[in-house]
């Protein structure tokens, strides 16, 4: 088992859709014992909150370059393509988790 990966889930407010997306990700990762720690914030605040983060999942557009992998969270809300997204996200998190720094 590698290290715990930090995932920042962002949306317009950091309250509504990000909480929704975060709880879906949490459930999926827990079932598969994937070591992830999830935080939420708003997209306006995102740039200020990235220290220590490994991956971004956002339901709103991320309009700046952070160097971190960014996933589009809208499929989690619509339910179209959500399984594919969760699988991709899980693969990325496992990859980071197992990378020796």
């Amino acid at each position: 088992m590698g290290r715990t990966v930090k995932l920042m889930v962002a949306c317009g407010s950091g309250i509504a859709t990000s909480t929704h997306a975060a709880s879906m990700v949490q459930e999926y990762m827990e079932e598969r014992h994937i070591p992830v720690s999830i935080m939420t914030c708003s997209v306006q605040d995102l740039a200020n909150r990235l220290s220590g983060c490994d991956v971004i999942l956002s339901t709103a557009q991320v309009s700046f370059e952070s160097g971190l992998p960014v996933f589009n969270g809208v499929p989690l809300l619509t339910g179209v393509g959500d399984d594919e997204l969760l699988k991709e996200l899980a693969d990325k998190i496992l990859e980071i988790s197992n990378t020796v720094v």
Binding site: G12, G14, S42, Q44, T59, T78
Partner: protein, 421 residues
């Protein structure tokens, strides 16, 4: 019949929102087919969120209220209705009798309109039914009739679906979100205002070609996108206006407290969201099972549009603009506070309707916020009454509360119609 309804309503209301709504959420989750354990957790989480919100409202009001009192007295500024922000406003709206029933009403309206093909939008954004709940509650307070309140909430829900359909194609193309529409209860009411402003600007020579660029705004001023920083700075400004500059330790500690309030509120409100996520998921599956065989748009929160660079920039620039506007706008009594961190929401649909133009976002923002503040002023003590009726503790003599996001012309018109009856 009406008598029975009134009796049942008052018996249920006497239980208090912290007991009643968890039970109601639990039943609703079970009806929509969620598992027992999840349904129970959803109900209990709502109860916990309610208790938490009561704490945070207390902290917010006890920190800001004394400063506002002194400010109003010293400066003659009439901004004595405190904007507590949409998050707190929505949680209050959901804690009312109308709020408990609105999910069924709004989903009912959606089912009716889908099956009669009056709409193509399947609204799964349960959280933002709070806008309908607020409309229903205001009308209920004014008319004293629960049924009329719920009908008003239903009209608001129907309006959202119609506007979502009408803007769907442009939203999908502009934001690259295929199959999505935005039936958000506030955002939809901004559409006619934006259309009006654009119509006007297109007819002014010179002005119609102005197109500002937002490249460096987020880079330079992005720190104000942080609720913590924004709250602390607002605390300093309020503190100075309240004459705290003669007592520096008090000034600084007030600023830190207000920053903390701004930072903590979203964390507490997220509990409400956690609870409603279960309802939303169950309702989404239920609706898809029954209506999934046809082509429809999935109705989502306008939050998914907020990340557009023009919107982020406008949300930041509008903060000082709205503060100044609040002082100079004739007749305004609202003190913008909580929703200053969410100004981007008010202009979320502007880029898509005006081709991503920052200048237009700002002009629309000024017009929209003026309308919003005057409507909130007109609602006066409605939200305070609503909060007290829902069992929240508002200290006597404290300022009235409102939320800018509740300043909705549709709610205003419906409440005026209700006042006739």
């Amino acid at each position: 019949m009406v008598d029975v309804i009134t009796k049942v309503t008052s018996a249920l209301t006497s239980l208090g929102a912290s007991v009643l709504i968890p039970i109601f959420i639990f039943i609703m989750c079970m009806v929509f087919g969620a598992k027992f354990k999840k349904s129970l957790m959803a109900g209990l989480t709502f109860g916990a969120a309610y208790i938490g919100l009561n704490l945070i409202i207390g902290l917010l009001i006890s920190t800001v209220s004394p400063m506002v009192d002194i400010m109003v007295e010293n400066w003659g500024i009439k901004n004595d209705i405190l904007d507590v922000g949409w998050a707190v406003g929505s949680a209050i709206a959901y804690s009312t009798t109308c709020g408990a029933l609105i999910i069924l009403v709004s989903l009912g309206v959606n089912i009716l309109m889908l099956s009669t093909r009056l709409t193509k939008t399947l609204n799964v954004d349960i959280w933002n039914f709070w806008n309908h709940a607020f409309t229903a509650s205001v009308v209920y307070i004014i008319s004293g009739n629960l049924i009329i309140g719920l009908i008003a909430g239903g009209i608001h829900a129907a309006f959202c679906l119609v506007m979502a359909d009408r803007t769907a194609k442009r939203v999908q193309a502009f934001y690259n979100v295929p199959g999505v529409s935005i039936p958000h209860g506030w955002a939809v009411t901004s559409v006619p205002i934006i259309a009006g402003v654009n119509w006007l600007l297109d007819r002014i020579p010179g002005v119609k070609n102005i197109n500002w660029d937002e490249k460096h705004i987020q880079e330079k001023w992005g720190i104000f996108g942080s609720p913590l920083v924004l709250g602390t700075v607002l605390g300093l400004i309020l503190g100075c206006l309240a004459g705290y500059w003669s007592d520096i330790p008090l000034l600084l500690s007030s600023a830190i407290s207000i920053g903390a309030v701004m930072m903590i509120i979203p964390k507490f409100i997220a509990l409400f969201m956690e609870s409603l996520t279960v309802v939303s998921d169950a309702a989404k599956k239920f609706m898809k099972k029954h209506f999934g065989d046809r082509e429809f748009y999935v109705g989502l929160d306008s939050a998914i549009l907020i990340g557009h660079p023009t919107t982020v920039a406008a949300g930041i620039i509008l903060i000082p603009v709205v503060l100044v506007l609040a002082v100079i706008l004739p007749g305004n009594r609202v003190l913008p506070f909580g929703d200053l961190a969410s100004l981007a929401y008010f202009v979320a649909l502007v880029p898509c309707l005006s081709k991503g133009n920052l200048f237009r976002s700002l002009i629309c923002g000024i017009v929209i916020m003026s309308v919003v503040m005057l409507i909130c002023t007109s609602f006066g003590s409605s939200m305070t009454t609503m909060a007290v009726q829902a069992g929240y503790t508002i200290p006597d003599g404290a300022v009235n509360i409102t939320a800018l996001s509740a300043g909705n012309w549709l709610t205003w018109i419906l409440s005026k119609i209700a006042a006739i009856f």
